[in-house]
Every structure is written in C-alpha cells, then in structure tokens.
C-alpha cells in the first residue's frame, strides 16, 4: 500500500461518511435545501426521502471504498481520484433527487399557503458585533515564530544544497524560509475568511429570531476557535516534517526513494529530534507504476544501492 493509495482510501471514505451524514446536520426546516414550514419538518415525504438518501449514499460509499481497496495495487494513483469524482457526482445526484421530490410535494400541497413571509435581522450584529477571538491566533503565531527562530539558528549550519518542494536546491533565504511563507499564507488566508464570516449576514430564522441568533453566535464563536486551533496544527504540520526529516539530514541519504542507507549509523544531532534505528524516509516513496518494473519496491534495494550519489555533498 502506497501513500497515494492510502490517501485515496481515506479521502473516499471520508467523503462517503460526510455525504451520508450531511442531512443529519442541516437545519430541520431546510431539508435538502428546500425551506419548509416548521410544522412540516417531519412530513412523510421528507422522512421517506431522507431514508432513501441515507440508503443510496451508503451503497455508493461502500461500493467506492471497496473499489479503491480492490484497485489499490492494480491501477495508477489517479484511479482513486476518478472514483472520488464518481462518488461526488453520484451523491450529488442523490441529493438532487431528494430535493426535487420534496420541492414537488411542497409545491403541489401549497405548504406555505396561509403563511406570511417574514425577514428578520439582528441590528446589534452591526452596531455591537461579536469580538473576533484574537487570542486564539496566538498558538498559530507562536508556531510561526518558532519556525522562524529554528530556521534562523540553523541557517548558518545548513549544507549548500537543501530540499525545497521535493527537490534539492541551493541554500538561500527563499528556499529555507519557504515554510514560513506557507505558514503565513495559510494563517492569513483562514483568518481572513473567518473575519469575512464574522462580518457577513447572520443566519437567523424568522420563526425563532431570538433563539437562532443566540445559537448562531455560539456556533460562530466555537467554529472560529476550532479553525484557529486547526491553523496552529497545520502550521505545526508544516514545521515538523522539515525538522523531522531534517533539511541537512538528507545530505547523507541516497538510493531509491523511501529507503535508508544500510550499514551507516544515524548521525546524532541532526534534526529536531534524535532518530532511532528506523529512519524516516527522506522522500515520499513513489507509487508503483505498472511500467516501471517495480523500481520503488524495497525488495529491489540491493540492486540499486550501488548507484553513486549524484547529489553534491
């Protein structure tokens, strides 16, 4: 099982579960995107279409997961992407079927006859907007600061050529501190998105304006804190591979991708953490191609270990 096929299985499984459970986490008065009166939220057609949607998406998800597992060693890495695309299209079709059937019944039975349309807004959202939880940005900014600090301290000791974007490039501020740029980009982008969400129109239900306003405030605060925490973890994810794999540690690696040098002891003091006998792969192992002759297999290592190191010391 390669990294690519494993990620394909994870993505397909995740999407299958997410799409199957989607109707359970939406508002009861907006099933499948169709707005219905509160007293019709549990109408027979809605219950029936919800059950049918769960059944259809569960079958589609199971089929897609089985396909990805069965084909993981037979196809190329993009096969899981095609299966994922087919799964998305099929789930979207299930959603549209349920939506159209509910909308047709709603139209035929005139569910909104005798109701008055009301639009509600909370003016305090504009005059006294909820405060953005700036303090929750501190973990992400701390990780970025630590990255800059570690990079600055280690910069003089780095070799002349370092890895950046999976390639060996000459050492420079741009190549070494590219991780910081990526961290800043992700942090700024998601903070900006959350700020826009904070300033956007609140999701208020006119039938229960006060309650839905209260719930939306709580939801937005919790969601923002979760996103900012996730940002810190993403920044950490960007930092740790660089430190664990070790930019200078790749200097003494050669051979097929994903393998370590036999018989050569691990050098202490490289990377952020000391490495054990099982070394971390220097580069991602290539997914096996049908026409490649299995060059990435660990079993072929002895044949390839005699290759000279093409990289500059």
């Amino acid at each position: 099982m390669t990294t690519a096929s494993l990620s394909g299985e994870v993505i397909v499984s995740f999407y299958a579960v997410a799409s199957c459970l989607a109707p359970a986490i939406t508002r009861p008065t907006v099933p499948f995107g169709v707005r219905v009166p509160p007293e019709r939220a549990s109408a027979p057609v809605i219950r029936q279409q919800r059950r049918a949607y769960y059944g259809r998406t569960a079958i589609i998800g199971a089929c897609c997961i089985a396909l990805v597992i069965l084909l993981q060693d037979r196809g190329s890495w993009w096969l899981s992407r095609i299966i994922l695309l087919a799964e998305i299209v099929a789930d979207l079709g299930c959603f549209l079927i349920a939506r159209n059937r509910i909308a047709a019944v709603k139209q035929a039975e005139r569910w909104y006859a005798g109701h008055r349309q009301v639009v509600a807004t909370d003016t305090s959202w504009r005059t006294d907007p909820p405060r953005f939880p700036v303090r929750w940005l501190i973990p992400a900014l701390t990780v970025i600061a630590v990255t800059v600090l570690v990079g600055t301290l280690r910069y003089p000791h780095l070799p002349a050529r370092v890895t950046a974007g999976g390639h060996l490039v000459p050492k420079s501020v741009v190549s070494v501190f590219g991780i910081v740029a990526a961290q800043l980009y992700v942090t700024a982008m998601w903070t900006g998105i959350m700020l826009i969400v904070y300033r956007s129109r609140p999701d208020i239900e006119a039938a229960d304006a006060a309650g839905s306003t209260r719930r939306y405030r709580r939801f937005l605060a919790a969601c923002t804190r979760a996103v900012l925490t996730l940002l810190a973890l993403v920044d950490l994810t960007l930092l740790l591979p660089a430190e664990l794999a070790g930019l200078p540690a790749r200097r003494d690696r050669f051979g097929p991708a994903g393998t370590a040098v036999r018989g050569r002891p691990a050098r202490p003091g490289r990377g952020l953490f000391p490495r054990g006998p099982r070394r971390i792969p220097a580069t991602r192992r290539r997914p096996r191609r049908l026409w490649s002759g299995g060059g990435g297999r660990p079993g072929r290592r002895p044949l390839l270990e005699g290759r000279p190191d093409l990289r500059q010391p």
Partner: protein, 141 residues
C-alpha cells in the same frame, strides 16, 4: 434589536422599519444614544432596497427620534426618559390615535375592550419614573 419585516405585507416596508424601531425605543431595546446599522447594512441584511431603509430612517429623523450623522451614523436621539414631546407632535399623535380608536369602535369593539387592549399594549413599554426629567423635547431643526 431584532427587526423583522413582512416583504409581502400590506404595510410598506419603510413604514414597517420605522414602526419596529419606534417599538424598540419604547420598549427600552434602543435607548437614547444607541446606534443603528447604516442604511446600506440594514438593506443588505433585510434584503431590501437601500432607499427603502433610507426612507424609514428619514421618517424617524423627521419625528426627532433619530439623528443621522456622516461619521456617527444613525443614533437614537430620544427615548421615554428624554422628557415630554413637543406640543405640536402631541396634537398630531392625538389625531392619529383618534382615527385608530375610531376604527375599533366602527368595527363594534366595546369601549372596555379598547381600553384593555391599550393597557396590554403599553404594558410592554418603559416609562420614565415620576419626577425624572430628561434632556427635554428635541425636534428637527
């Protein structure tokens, strides 16, 4: 303040906006000095035209309830604790009240019921404590 309007109702939307804000001021939800959203923001939030909100705000400004500044935005100018209103305003309001009560009488509602409805309506409003005086009547220039 939760502001709700009926886009398809018989009352014009600008009048509904004006009425809801007056009710919020009387109920204590929008005291004097509190701010209201800008006309553009409120129009976006309600999904109505900017000029509709502007017309509602303009009515409130003419009645002396709202002050609209270029920098400060829309601010409530007076509330129940701001002192007695202008005499001419009381005269106009009495005329409108007479029409409103006449509608109930014309529909056959007994006088006791009319008084009861009036009591129930004003029970939700805040009134100044006896002896307390506010900044006095404020009107348009």
């Amino acid at each position: 303040m939760l502001l709700s309007v009926e886009p398809d109702g018989p009352v014009p939307i600008y009048q509904q906006i004006r009425d809801r804000i007056v009710e919020a001021i009387a109920g204590g939800g929008q005291p004097a000095g509190s701010g209201l959203p800008s006309t553009r923001q409120l129009a976006v939030d309600l999904g109505v035209n900017f000029h509709t909100v502007n017309k509602g705000y303009d009515l409130l400004r003419q009645e002396g309830l709202l002050r609209i500044g270029r920098k400060s935005g829309a601010v409530v100018q007076r509330d129940a604790g701001s002192g007695p209103p202008r005499p001419d305003w009381v005269r106009d309001w009495t005329a409108r009240l007479q029409t409103l009560l006449a509608e109930a009488a014309a529909q056959g509602l007994p006088a006791e019921d009319i008084v009861r409805h009036c009591r129930e309506a004003i029970a939700a409003f805040t009134f100044p404590v006896d002896g307390e005086s506010g900044p006095g009547p404020v009107g348009p220039p």
